[in-house]
Amino acid sequence: MDSPAANAAFAKQINIKFPLLSDMNKKMLTAYGILKGYDVQSETYQWAQRANIVIDKNGIVQHVEEGDSAVNPNNALSVCTDLHKKQSTK
């Protein structure tokens, strides 16, 4: 898993303004079921699947997208936009 130091270098390189988080002990990935196991010869290796998840203000999952399609964030962003509109009209 990438360390905070590696993430800091990456964040600087791509000039992002939101936090990049490290799950060094895979606790979150395990809890969310995002880890994928690969058996290579006699060993099993695990790493994360690509995934986009939107969680609303109440802590409820509103969107889950995984695999290759999650490379594109547009679906998740449109869920965020819709959520924000709904919450603004309340």
Partner: protein, 77 residues
Amino acid sequence: MKRIVCAALLLAALPSSALLTTSAQKTEQAAKVSLKVGDTAPDFTLLSDQWKTVKLSDFKGKKNVFLAVYVLAFTGG
């Protein structure tokens, strides 16, 4: 959109030794993301790139959260 918080998780992949053997016998243990729409998201506490603790529950009642899980930093993946 201003109120939307984005948090990305950058996650390293396999040791290089394993990557070199991917042409050998490899089987995938297909795992689906176990979370589903409507579930309560499990809380987590993770370290940010600024070495600050970030908890999902810190945003409860305040902001929506967009979690983007990446496989490797410095890649297009």
